[in-house]
């Protein structure tokens, strides 16, 4: 079959232009709402569970999973479907782990997921992937593709912060779900809406083996390791974890996971249909000719069923997918850089709001430019489209870090909500304890003066502890003191107008 894929057709450029214009307009709107670091990092915690569910789903339905799984199913049949099932299963595990353990300051996440290096490596992988993908889709050169993605993404994050990043992700998720749904309906329309007929056509063309598990998983050890990678790889995605801070409370965080798993589940239920249909209509050889990995199966199917215009739409959506994910990653990286390194390590927590905003934006710029340059340097490296499996263990350890017994943790969950968590001081080095006290931010429930006073006390305690003047606190001491602080805070919250 003839394809216009790889040439910048009018429809592709028009759809792409429309998406970029729309998202930049939203960034302009969001920029007027982004005045404090609280808005920059966490969208002022005013994102609704439904919106956050869409944004989470958008982050997760990356170009890798959209194009990659459709391609895997097209080329390898049922084995691709095994991936699709695993992709969803990590989510339920996330429901409460995140909702109640990592809920202090948005920026804790970035450090919890292994810091800047992890985020940077993952961003480079996405950049390299985006360069290759845009090259395949639109036929522009690799360097221009990376530069183009980098500049637009920087505009979102720099000016619109988390508010813009969230809305860009929501728009993309809606467009992607819409595009894949249309694709599926067009496929099923050819088979009188009987999926069985589609599978019969696949079996007729490639043999029954296409619908049976093949060489992907061959023994129990393989099975377990694939399962673990797919399940916990999710917890290593910092831009996804950051989204849990954009909603109001744990209840909203849980609801957003429910919405997100709904969208993602729907997506992975229908994406194998797209893959099987691509194998049937476009053919495996034609798909491999364009890209050996099969990543172009879905766009090729779109062109076959809906013509050049539909191909343009799907290509533009794939591009938007990359933009949105890279924007989220850049925000996570900038957060780690500005908050963890500047505010805590360099300034020991003393930085004014304006200073923090300036540093946050500067960090975004540094991180973004580094990502663009490294993306160009790493051209041709096969790093794209991989789950960050090496980052699997770290975040889990971070989540379980507070493992001081069930009662202690639940006490904090129930009466905690404390911005200043005294019990974090047990068993930690004094330096870390100081870093664990969050910097005061306007709108925080405790007034700034009290929080600064506490910070000084904690720092003083840490020094005394180092000099050996006081014994290390036992957990009994802390739960006494932590209980009192929690009480104070609950009262302070209730007294607030």
């Amino acid at each position: 079959m003839q394809t216009t894929l790889g040439t910048p057709t009018v429809s592709a450029v028009v759809f792409f232009g429309l998406i970029v214009l729309l998202t930049l307009a939203i960034t302009w709107w969001a920029a007027r709402r982004t005045r404090s670091t609280r808005e920059f990092y966490a969208a002022g915690r005013r994102v609704s569970p439904f919106q956050n569910g869409l944004a989470l789903a958008g982050d997760y339905m990356s170009a890798a999973s959209f194009l990659g799984i459709a391609g895997l199913v097209a080329l390898r049949g049922y084995d691709g479907m095994i991936y699709a099932t695993g992709w969803l299963v990590g989510w339920p595990a996330l429901t409460d782990v995140v909702a109640y353990r990592l809920r202090q300051v948005p920026v804790r996440v970035a450090s919890a997921t292994g810091g800047i290096l992890t985020v940077l490596l993952y961003t480079i992988a996405q950049m390299v992937g985006s360069g290759n993908l845009v090259m395949l889709l639109f036929g522009i050169s690799y360097e221009w593709a990376v530069l183009c993605v980098g500049v637009v993404m920087l505009a979102y994050v720099l000016f619109g912060g988390m508010i813009a990043t969230t809305w860009v992700q929501i728009i993309k998720a809606v467009l992607l779900l819409f595009g894949v749904t249309v694709l599926t309906v067009l496929v099923l329309a050819r088979f009188d809406f009987n999926p069985g007929a589609l599978y019969a056509a696949v079996a007729a063309k490639y043999g029954q083996a296409a619908l049976e598990p093949g060489g992907l998983v061959t023994d129990p050890v393989d099975a377990i390791s694939l399962g673990l990678a797919l399940m916990f790889g999710l917890l290593g995605l910092p831009h996804i974890l950051m989204r849990f801070y954009t909603v109001r409370d744990a209840r909203a965080a849980r609801l957003s996971v429910l919405y997100a798993t709904g969208f993602i589940g729907y997506f992975y239920l229908i994406i194998p249909i797209v893959g099987f249909a691509a194998a049937t209509f476009v053919g495996r050889d034609a798909i491999r000719r364009i890209d050996a990995g099969g990543n172009m199966a879905a766009p090729l199917l779109a062109e076959f069923l809906g013509g050049t215009a539909f191909l343009g739409f799907i290509a533009a959506v794939a591009f938007a997918t990359i933009l949105a994910v890279v924007a989220g990653l850049t925000l996570a990286g900038a957060t780690a850089l500005s908050h963890d390194v500047f505010v805590h390590a360099i300034r020991r927590g003393h930085a004014t709001e304006q200073e923090q905003m300036r540093v946050a934006r500067a960090a975004t710029l540094i991180f973004g430019v580094a990502a663009i340059l490294l993306g160009i340097v790493f051209k041709g490296q096969n790093v794209a489209f991989e789950l960050p499996r090496s980052a699997v263990v770290d975040p889990l350890a971070a989540v379980q870090h507070g493992g001081r017994g069930v009662v202690d943790r639940h006490r904090r969950d129930v009466i905690g909500r404390a911005h200043l968590d005294q019990s974090d001081r047990v068993g930690r080095s004094p330096e870390k304890s100081v870093a664990a006290v969050p910097a005061a931010q306007p709108g925080d429930r405790l007034d700034d003066r009290r929080l600064r006073g506490r910070r000084r006390r904690v720092a003083g305690d840490a020094r005394a502890l180092r000099r050996g003047e006081v014994r290390r606190r036992t957990s009994a001491d802390v739960s006494r003191r932590g209980g009192r602080v929690a009480c104070d805070q609950v009262r302070a919250q209730l007294l607030r107008p």
Binding site: P92, L211, D222, I224, L258, G483, C487
Partner: protein, 100 residues
């Protein structure tokens, strides 16, 4: 620690809440592991079952794969509904206690 906090921490209600939450979490996790690892181990050890045809060319593996996705979502839904209705309400009651 003042008396009201100690009363909450030592109350039977608080202990029961902690225990109940742990049980529900463990049960949900166990179901999920059973669901997903049951499926993936079947793929790893007994492909013949999944390759069995159940009507036309459709193999048993296709509806089973879909069932894993739907099942994972239903588990999530059940957990979220429990946590947001029953658990959060109990936490609110305890908070009210604490304030008194």
């Amino acid at each position: 620690m003042d008396d009201s906090t100690r009363r909450v921490l030592e109350s039977a209600e608080f202990r029961q809440l902690v225990a109940r939450r742990w049980r529900v979490s463990a049960l949900a996790s166990a179901c999920l592991f059973f669901l997903y690892y049951g499926y993936i181990l079947l793929v790893g050890t007994n492909k013949a079952v999944l390759a069995r045809r159940i009507g036309g060319a459709v193999t048993l593996g296709i509806p089973l794969g879909a069932a894993v996705i739907v099942g994972a979502w239903i588990l999530t839904a059940a957990y979220v509904v429990w946590a947001n209705r029953s658990y959060d309400a109990a936490v609110q009651r305890l908070r009210a206690h604490l304030d008194r």
